[in-house]
């Protein structure tokens, strides 16, 4: 029986349990005027739960152990005596045989796997049959036991609600699991990387060229300082030079000066900037902005004006960031108590003087928090730099020259045809770990700054 059919069958059993239990509970309720702790549907859910959960849990566990059991069964057959000793060859033959048995391949590279395929299919069929029987048995017996407990005095509701609570808890634990998964996978792969390349070489080396790694001294070509500099230069310097003035002034204009109608139209329009996919910005940067920037550089007489300049990527990234800065500035400007503004205006200051001397200083922590969040966003941004920045790592202050970033390098390192164990591939995880740590720190600092500021006026 196919897995899908089995799942449907179990679900059908659950549905039957639900209907039958509900009907039974409804019957004994209608016979008396007694009050019950549970509604008929609680009994229904109780039985359905006992039908579904044990069987599904069994199948989940089975799904993870079954392939090993099947393989063991195949190896136990006399035909498998011809298999080579455990190693890559043996694994290749076995996986080929499995593909043949499952009908996913038509020909085989190893003649042996073709002979093993029937044994594989037989073992698979046998274990499938066992799994189906056990699952159905579990579903049926679970449902039956639960059904026998459906009695007037039985509090099905508390049982059902306990399971629902468990479900809720499990759902919220997934966030922690994801975080652990991210940290663990980054740490494990980075640890493997740092066994090959000394951590000091990686963090303080100034030469980055992963295309040519010397096997005797892999650290010499994997110094990430140029990447950190490029990331900082594009994300925190150029992008912020665009985003902070534009975002802050937009927020000031829209909160303090603009007509209500203008504000209602312009604010969503700015927010669209944040909703445009980054691949579109990247395409725009590479196709339209980068050539214009190069022409500008040539016109200004810059010697190394590249068509993959830091400026092109940074400017477009800055535009993408504008809505973040402006909405954070908007929030913190509106959070400044009106009395402060009114006091300044009453003293005879003009609006702009009030804004510059009173509102912006008062809102500054919030604005800085917003800028830090924007920086964290900019240095984690990938597609714009993948499409508009170059792959050449260099320590340069010239915005018309080409630079590269951490995210661009991660993509470059992982999209080649490299084996999973090389220093080159593992370096991507070390870069990912660095990126994770830096953005985490930025976010934490930003949140602390914003929170402390908010408390000041409440």
């Amino acid at each position: 029986m196919s897995a899908l059919a089995l799942l449907f069958l179990i679900a059908a059993l659950g549905l039957i349990g639900w209907v039958v239990a509900r009907a039974r509970a409804a019957r004994f309720r209608s016979a008396t005027t007694r009050r019950f702790s549970s509604l008929p549907q609680h009994h229904g859910w109780y039985v359905a739960m006992w039908t579904l959960l044990p069987a599904l849990m069994f199948l989940a566990v089975w799904h993870s152990v079954a392939p090993a059991l099947v393989t063991d069964a195949v190896i136990a057959t006399p035909m498998a005596a011809a298999l080579p000793p455990p190693g890559l060859d043996r694994a290749a033959i076995l996986s080929e045989a499995r593909n043949l048995a499952e009908g996913e391949a038509w020909g085989a590279f190893h003649p042996l796997s073709e002979r093993l395929a029937p044994a594989y299919a037989a073992a698979q069929a046998r274990y499938d049959w066992i799994a189906t029987t056990i699952a159905l048995l579990l579903a049926f017996s679970g449902g039956a036991v639960a059904f026998l407990r459906v009695r007037p005095g039985f509090s099905a509701r508390s049982q059902v609600e306990r399971v629902v609570m468990g479900l809720l808890l499990v759902a919220s634990l997934i966030a922690i699991l994801t975080t652990i998964g991210i940290v663990a996978s980054l740490l494990v792969e980075s640890a493997r990387f740092f066994r090959i390349v000394p951590i000091t070489d990686f963090l303080f080396g100034t030469h980055w060229s992963p295309q040519v790694i010397d096997a005797r001294d892999p650290g010499a070509a994997l110094g990430a300082v140029p990447l950190f500099w490029g990331t900082f230069f594009i994300g925190a310097v150029i992008a912020m030079a665009v985003a902070v003035p534009l975002g802050l002034m937009s927020a000031i204009y829209l909160t303090q000066y603009a007509h209500q109608t203008t504000r209602r139209w312009m604010k969503p329009m700015l927010e669209i900037l944040a909703g445009v996919p980054t691949v579109v910005y990247g395409y725009f940067a590479a196709l339209t902005v980068a050539p214009a920037v190069r022409d500008l550089g040539v016109a200004l007489g810059v010697r190394w004006a590249s068509s993959e300049s830091a400026l092109a990527a940074g400017v477009v990234m800055g535009v993408m960031i504008i809505p973040f800065v402006s909405s954070m500035a908007d929030d913190s400007l509106s959070a400044v108590p009106a009395a402060m503004r009114d006091g300044s205006l009453a003293m005879g200051a003009t609006s702009s003087e009030t804004i510059r001397r009173v509102l912006v200083p008062a809102a500054l922590p919030g604005v800085i928090g917003g800028v830090l969040l924007a920086v964290s966003r900019a240095i984690g941004e990938t597609m714009i730099v993948v499409m508009a920045a170059s792959g050449v790592a260099s320590l340069t202050l010239n915005p018309f020259a080409s630079t590269t970033t951490v995210t661009k390098q991660i993509v470059d390192l992982l999209t080649g045809e490299a084996e999973f164990d090389s220093a080159k591939t593992l370096a991507a995880f070390a870069l990912g770990l660095t990126l994770f740590v830096i953005t985490l720190l930025l976010n934490v600092v930003a949140l602390i700054v914003v929170r402390r500021y908010r408390e000041a006026y409440e």
């Binding site: 609600e161 609570m165 759902a171 997934i174 937009s250 579109v280 984690g380 953005t439």
Partner: protein
């Protein structure tokens, strides 16, 4: 004693002195400058958006059309297929086996020998003829003239940006060329020839990925928002869950790609570049967004609703599932749509898990190799062939239309169902 009272009384300001009037003028000028600066900032941001959209539309609009050549066809005797073969599912195979492609090329050679013959036609031209025959088998029995798509360079030249050679060919062909809606752009998958390339394969991949993402992220997100907001005890564990959710919402998307690569592909050996892995990865990314939106919506439900339900004897679960959740649902849905729109536009994590292969057939199952619309745009943008520039922009227009529709829907839902609690 007050110090100020002791000092001699200050004279009232004389606003009429030239110095004072100059000062006032200067201050007003500064005020105007500042205000204009603000307006300029808003206009600059808006202008960039308008410029971006205008560039994409200007470049992409022609991607929705194709240039067609009127091709006189006389297939009698060249393509011999029995009517029975044309009815069944084997019609494609039968027509290909009967040498339709060569017959079409030969027809082009006969009709336009001077301009290059078969070289004028797109790689997919004979497929168009095949579909026309399947639609109307009478075409095999009489001479007809069909409009078929032309090759990329000719297409570009007709749209106004060709090489001198192809410009000359366009002039020579004159009225034989026409322009029509490129239907295969919406129904085809990726192809090496820009005139045949379409977005349906990528769009279907996006849809499958989104289904997986939604099926995982929505229930988990809503359930954990409910737990954290309604039931969770205030202790260190809850704080940890809260902190990690807020943190996950701010993790760069490429890190999720690394997670997907290491866990789903490296450890669990799931099929590379399948929609299921993409969906799982994006679900982990979208879930925190839904949790945060969900918590805001749940907090907005006033406590009096809960108290009223409790007072009538509802259990904590009933309070939440019968009262709080239905009232918070519009807000949760708004957040979900915004999160899904973000996931739909995401490219970087999907590059990590290998969804960047050339895939010429739309995926049928969740485990089939698939690509998504943003990745398709990325792949096409790398293509040096000039015909792909307009395809890229056209695909971008489609993506933006889908995303703006989703965001518009979210705004509509928010306005429509926003409840103001007094």
């Amino acid at each position: 004693m007050n110090k100020r009272a002791a000092s001699p009384a200050r004279q009232p300001t004389d606003w009429q002195t030239p110095a004072m009037q100059r000062r006032v003028r200067r201050r007003y000028a500064a005020e105007r400058r500042f205000r204009l600066l603000g307006l300029a900032a808003v206009c600059a941001s808006a202008a960039f958006l308008v410029y971006l959209l205008a560039t994409m539309i200007a470049q992409g609009a022609s991607g929705f059309t194709e240039t067609r050549l009127a091709l006189p066809l006389d297939l009698r005797g060249h393509v011999v297929v029995s009517p029975a073969q044309l009815g069944g599912p084997a019609a494609d195979l039968a027509l290909a086996g009967a040498g339709l492609e060569n017959a079409v090329d030969a027809a082009a050679d006969r009709a336009y020998p001077a301009q290059g013959g078969a070289a004028l036609l797109s790689d997919g031209a004979w497929l168009r003829v095949r579909d026309a025959i399947k639609h109307d088998p009478q075409l095999l029995a009489a001479p007809v003239t069909l409009d078929v798509p032309v090759a990329t360079d000719l297409d570009m030249a007709y749209k106004g940006s060709g090489t001198p050679g192809s410009e000359a060919a366009v002039t020579a062909l004159g009225a034989h060329l026409s322009r029509g809606l490129n239907v295969s752009f919406f129904t085809g998958a990726d192809a090496t020839d820009p005139t045949r390339a379409g977005i349906w394969g990528a769009l279907k991949g996006s849809l499958l990925t989104m289904v997986v993402t939604l099926a995982l992220a929505f229930p988990i997100g809503v359930l954990s928002a409910l737990y954290l907001e309604e039931y969770a005890p205030r202790n260190r564990w809850t704080d940890l869950i809260e902190v990690s959710i807020n943190n996950l919402a701010a993790v760069p998307s490429i890190i999720f790609g690394l997670l997907g690569l290491a866990v789903f592909l490296g450890t669990l050996h799931m099929p590379r570049s399948g929609a299921i892995v993409g969906g799982l990865t994006l679900a982990l990314m979208t879930m925190p967004v839904i949790v945060i939106a969900g918590r805001n919506a749940i907090t907005a439900v006033p406590p009096s609703i809960r108290d009223a339900a409790r007072a009538l004897g509802a259990s904590p679960i009933q309070v939440v599932f019968h009262h709080v959740l239905p009232l918070a649902l519009p807000g949760i849905l708004t957040g979900t749509i915004i999160g899904m729109a973000r996931a739909l536009g995401e490219t970087a994590p999907l590059l990590m898990i290998g969804m960047r292969a050339f895939i010429a057939a739309p995926p049928g199952r969740l485990t089939d190799p698939a690509t998504v619309l943003p990745v398709q745009i990325f792949l096409w943008s790398d293509d040096v062939q000039t015909g792909f520039v307009e395809k890229t922009s056209a695909a971008i227009i489609v993506l933006l239309v889908v995303l703006l529709t989703m965001n518009g829907l979210a705004i509509y839902l928010r306005n429509r169902f926003e409840t103001r609690w007094k």
